[in-house]
Subunit: 294 residues, 4 copies
């Protein structure tokens, strides 16, 4: 369930901790500290108070925030011995559907990481695509202990911010969502192209991609909802595919077979999970262009 | 070996037939008829004379032109019992490297076709990609006997034209080749983009593609040779892929990771095997466009 | 002053006519007829009732609607002997600032038109630019009396619609406004271009243009308000001019002198006064493009 | 008349000087020095020898090269008391058709310049448009005597290079010409746009432009000859104007009146007189783009 800031400000400390105790994994004490700093006028103030509590906590507690985190695709996750939010987060990245080989790869990375840094690899999964997740894991294994400690704590805060936003309604929500949107303009007739089938695929490797969203353009040439929205845009390379040939065939144009433009594919990368990637298609039967729009 | 028109005009009838007897499969008589119409000032006149001989031939001979043709990926081809040119043509479409299943599919199509029309399926393979070849086969199986007879004879002439062009040098060569070329312009600096790795892939199905050419752009932003040239452009859907991200990294730009544009993929279809498909990439790190150029 | 539909529905017939009597020039009887058809739920219903009253009126009254209209830039207009709305409308097209020669030209056209059709030339001026106004005048002088009668009555309704919209607030306003807007995207950095000086000029002849609006792009690369809005877009050829060179100089780029792109001029025509002309500029220092957007 | 390098190498010193004595204004001695350094294999070697002779000359002679130069639009030019090449050069910039006011302005600038530097203002006129010429004049008046002496000598060499290229035929001509060219692609049909009327105008002020070339596109969408070629491209802002509306009307399209795109105007600046400015128009009836091409 979600709470309003007002309700949280008015709640007993116990209820407050019951409500927000899970924002930091296995660390209800963070909510406890924040409860004492009420009232909060804005969600971001509440989050700042929790972050301050973490920063002010003794080393043992701060380290605990890391050591208590579940491993990615780890044994505990497979056996369901992790927090519900973690289950959902790992599932969102498909980590609950890995092949035995992939599990094995993760177990090896997890073991190497824990051996080197003394705590599990922590990453705000919702901000990463499959390829990016593995790239980050490999890269961070190379980092210095100091840098890596900072990276891990930053990821803990990113995870907490998303969880808090999902639990609390109020002014000043945290910036934890991005968007991928598109727009199709038909320059043969000077109007938006309606009814164009669009799909968004994420590259899980340089050559392999999986479709993550499908839509059709409306009368304004846009999709009714963003192709990705209301969540961070996973760091990844994407491909937007438009059935432009079908659009022009439906418009009665006499196209060659195969048409010069049939499925138009726009590849682009998203490096800012909280950013807006507007990637329009401006096309005629014989030309098209795209750009990062706004 | 190749002949000049002059040499062919001066040759004995026997030598002339020896030289051009294979232009029409198992039908040296076509060259024989043409020999009597010498001299020829242009290659296209020589070809017109051969086509006229075919048109004027009695039905039995004209039908023989079809019945004597080898089947695509047929038993004869597998056992090497077909004309050398046919072997090369079928190999160019990969028909000598089919899986057992694919062979089986061709044998079934060949049998159905022969049963329906009384002669083997004839197609100028060099003008078709793998997907187009199978599409044409299925479509022509549905045609009326009259239409299909005309289609088969047209293909025989297309095959002959390519063989003749390869054998004879002289004025007025036949139009049997097309081109796929590209050009990369960097609109961030207003200059051609040099050293960009480009690959051309052919879609053998809607989702599966195979790389058919690789090149790097020169100082003028073009490839030294067309990506496809000196032969017909196989009817197919293609994808040009440019390593634009590498180009901008090499230029010292500070790109996000992943970059907005890394591998740019331009999909287009070629429906005119004798046409010129110039498909340029006009790009900055945040936008690009293409069109059918000239 | 403006009225709400509710107030008009509740008003006495006399007040209703006092409020809307000027919607049709010198023809308060139209409002009188409409008063009897109250109540109206939507502005468009009220207008439909007035149009129906006109259509049902005897010939003398309908012709009177035309004969009572003031001439464009006519003697009456110069001497202020026309309805206040007419004064404003003619001023909006600069007809109150004509040279003696221009007045003479209009007087000649007015005389020729009245001699041919028996009523003054009527045009909804707000829907026309200077050049279009004169083109229409010349073209309509050539029309048949039947066609021209229809054209004149259509213009009377267009004028009335704009006047009614200005007087009445309520559901279902009439569609009497269009828009010209723009948007500047900087494809060198993948962001909207802020602070770009933009001007919109109207061509009053093929070579002569007058600036009709000036603005600067905001952080989103748009102008805070449309360059033309809240009124019909005068039928005309326009030119949008962007100081792109200044934008890139301000961004610290080292441009040649003169820069390849300094003032970018986009010429376009507006043929639908009630339409939305979104004309974006997508540019790098060495390339740009535009299209009719949405 | 023009000479071949061979002929010049074989000529008597007197004939050599008679042929090339005018390359440096009123300074046949430069040719005289070069004559002694024959033979020359390439035109650029001949020019290098003349430049070396200038560099090695005593101060009096080098200063003479400057002081003997005619003023721009000066009294001597008006009265025809200058070298024929100078007359042609000044005429090419319209300096023989100035208004009295313009003459007065030049006389004032000339006087101020001579007073400050002791020699006349020297500029290779063929490399400048009218506006650039006046900008340069004003800017150089502000330079230090040392810098300005260097600028003046550099201009003398530029003038000499153009004159020498015009007189001598042979290997290794000097790079003294640039080009402005265009290309129209119709993306509604995927073909070059033939028969499009194009004009090139030079801006002589920010708002005033004069047409300097007219052409029509050929079957390949290009103009048969560059719009400017075989000479330096005058430093200036230009506008290419294309009658795109006429093209689409001729193609039978039903365009609104006025069409969205009728006359398309591409403004660009040329800052490299020896460069190639290829400025294509890639257009549909509702969109267009341009870029600096190659």
């Amino acid at each position: 369930m979600t709470w309003t800031l007002e309700a949280l400000n008015a709640a007993s400390a116990a209820d407050f901790v019951a409500a927000l105790g899970g924002v930091f994994e296995h660390a209800p004490w963070v909510a406890g500290e924040a409860a004492a700093r009420r009232p909060f006028g804005r969600v971001e103030d509440l989050f700042a108070a929790m972050a301050a509590a973490v920063a002010a906590a003794p080393e043992a507690r701060r380290l605990g925030l890391l050591t208590n985190h579940p491993e990615l695709a780890g044994r505990a996750a497979r056996d369901g011995r992790i927090a519900p939010d973690s289950i959902a987060e790992q599932a969102s990245a498909g980590l609950d559907r890995l092949s035995e080989d992939e599990y094995a790869r993760f177990e090896a990375l997890n073991a190497a990481y824990r051996a080197r840094f003394g705590f599990p690899f922590i990453l705000c999964i919702r901000r990463h695509g499959r390829a990016s997740l593995l790239r980050s894991f490999a890269r961070r294994l190379e980092a210095s202990p100091e840098d890596e400690r900072r990276s891990a704590e930053a990821e803990v805060l990113r995870i907490a911010a998303i969880r808090l936003n999902a639990l609390v309604e109020g002014e000043g929500p945290l910036r934890t969502t991005g968007r991928i949107s598109t727009h199709v303009l038909d320059t043969a007739v000077g109007r938006p192209a309606a009814g164009v089938a669009v799909e968004l695929a994420e590259f899980v490797s340089e050559t392999e991609s999986v479709v993550v969203a499908r839509a059709r353009t409306n009368a304004d040439g846009r999709t009714d909802a963003p192709l990705i929205g209301g969540r961070p845009v996973p760091l990844a390379a994407y491909e937007l595919r438009f059935r432009l040939g079908d659009h022009y065939r439906a418009a009665g144009l006499d196209l060659p077979e195969p048409p010069f433009l049939d499925i138009v594919a726009l590849r682009f990368g998203a490096a800012d999970p909280e950013g807006h990637y507007h990637v329009p298609l401006v096309a005629s039967p014989w030309s098209y262009q795209t750009y990062r729009g706004s």
